[in-house]
Symmetry: C2
């Protein structure tokens, strides 16, 4: 029996499970003593409405430039809560581990989760660990769920885009997808390309404080990229959206890799970006507020909303033409998150 590897018995619920929990998992990610663990976490009351979300992470590779599956899982769930304008409070973590996975790698991932949670101001309060036989999973999958407090009465959701709104993004597009792909293929593309994976609750709080009810939609363009997310919002809100290609922030290295590989950066995943729809009168204030935040230094207005035709998205290209934008069709880059 190799003491450095995860064994089937670590998922049995018996003695090995208790050892793994009390020696590795709980001290790193929860800070709650193993001796007071119960079937569920008991949490203080939240006054007001609750936001609740879940995401499973199967990213390949599990370590990539700019992050790990652990930080990604925390950021992804924190961001889903933040996109409702909620204040993220508590996370749960479900680990599915392949037999033979390295304990050292698990430790690195758990430490990364804890750092990401601390930085975002959330606590990991409950969890579960399963182990499946070799070949029945790919190293490790992580499912994080989150609870947030909705401390405002604003209507921030995908069906609330309004004609006249401008669309702001907080920075460059495509960084996460290209970084993961580079990590997977072992490409030494450029040190400039790292995942943008980050918790967006701070910049969202700044934005809400600055423009309040002038903020209509928030969404993070993850799988499917900016194009798919914008198309979703156009359909949910029954509005027409026009994007400006020239205004789209993108790193030259990301543009270069996309160009070589035939990928459209508009469909490449981001993990630290948000799209904010704000009324035109509040656009300058929103943009200025975002640019003052470390995660919004490259914020830009990338499009506008008009009343019709409902559900249409088009992009004015660099050479002045109009191109239709639809959702991602098929799978451009599998296992990006």
């Amino acid at each position: 029996m190799n003491n450095d590897l995860i064994l089937l018995g670590h998922g049995s619920g018996g003695r090995l499970s208790h050892q793994l929990l009390s020696e590795l998992i709980i001290p790193i990610i929860s800070g709650i003593l193993a001796s007071v663990q119960n079937d569920a976490a008991l949490l203080e009351a939240i006054p007001g409405r609750i936001a609740f979300t879940t995401d499973s992470f199967v990213v390949d590779p599990i370590f990539f430039p700019g992050g790990t599956i652990g930080s990604l899982a925390v950021h992804g769930t924190v961001n889903d809560l933040a996109m409702m304008g909620a204040r993220p409070l508590w996370l749960s973590v479900g680990l599915i581990i392949e037999e033979g996975f390295s304990k050292a790698d698990l430790k690195t991932i758990l430490e990364d989760m804890r750092s990401a949670a601390d930085a975002a101001g959330v606590s990991i309060v409950t969890g579960d660990t399963k182990v499946v036989p070799r070949g029945k999973a790919d190293k490790i999958f992580i499912t994080t769920s989150g609870i947030g407090a909705v401390e405002h009465s604003l209507e921030i959701h995908g069906a609330n885009a309004q004609p006249g709104d401008v669309i702001i993004i907080n920075g460059t597009i495509g960084d996460h997808g290209i970084a993961v792909m580079a990590g997977r293929e072992g490409l030494q593309v450029s040190t400039e390309i790292t995942s943008d994976s980050a918790a967006l609750n701070g910049i969202v709080a700044t934005l809400i404080a600055e423009v309040g009810s002038e903020l209509h939609v928030l969404r993070d363009p993850t799988r499917g990229g900016v194009a798919t997310t914008i198309k979703e919002i156009a359909q949910q809100s029954a509005v027409s959206i026009t994007l400006q290609e020239a205004a789209m922030p993108i790193k030259p290295a990301v543009r270069g890799v996309c160009s070589i590989l035939g990928l459209d950066p508009l469909f490449v995943a981001n993990e630290g970006k948000l799209l904010a729809f704000v009324s035109a009168t509040a656009a300058d204030a929103a943009l200025a507020a975002m640019r003052k935040h470390p995660l919004g230094l490259n914020a830009a207005i990338i499009g506008t909303v008009s009343p019709s035709p409902a559900g249409r998205v088009q992009m004015e290209t660099l050479i002045g033409g109009m191109r239709s934008v639809d959702m991602l069709s098929g799978e451009q880059l599998p296992r990006i998150c």
Copy 2:
């Protein structure tokens, strides 16, 4: 492209993902329209404390006598909330699906989740779907998280077992583990052996209404079985526990299979059982209340709590000897839940 199978593109976040969501997943399990989906569910306020839990399910086979991975995932999370004395309200569902999985099987599993949720009185309010390439997962893994309302001020937790308490179980032991193993091996053991997978929130509510603060600990003996769970509680509460083998409810067919295969039923998983620790004065009332409930017809007092030595568990055997009981060591039956 085979229209009956799950493709990588169904996990892309793009058009195929939207199709799968709006045609199959959302209509069956949530009843929320795809058009109003957001990154997180927005839920009404809960007055008072909140219980929060998560569990990943990797059971093999995914269809077994008495249930599916879908009903199991709902029951498991509902029960974890119920074991805190909470009223389960909302569930999230994270699906990790292997490319090539049958849509028909997915539909069956989702329908089973919905039936189980309806029967337990909970709503599935948010979810996520990922698809991994063939051979990178085993058919389907499901992670359910749950939120419950704690509507009492009782102290029900694993550290609250008290000397003098009696231990009640609501029915026969080992049914789930043996049913899953029989399903896996294709054994035609007996039609009597089916999983006990069930939602326990109803019987818990009955118990709380009947004995209130005389109820000290509730826990469901899943992975690791009754033995492991009892040992955990003995350690958390620093008490000594004595079980009575003669009092342990067990179906003859389960006992027979365990005997043939050399399995100890005390370590075999249950998915519709609870262990209730109640003060001796309330034992008769608790037992009577449980026996009136459909999930407690075979309820029995199986042990007692004494002050010391702390953490010790022993069992008085059928022939009158005393046997030491410890946690499950290693893995008796992998992938039981």
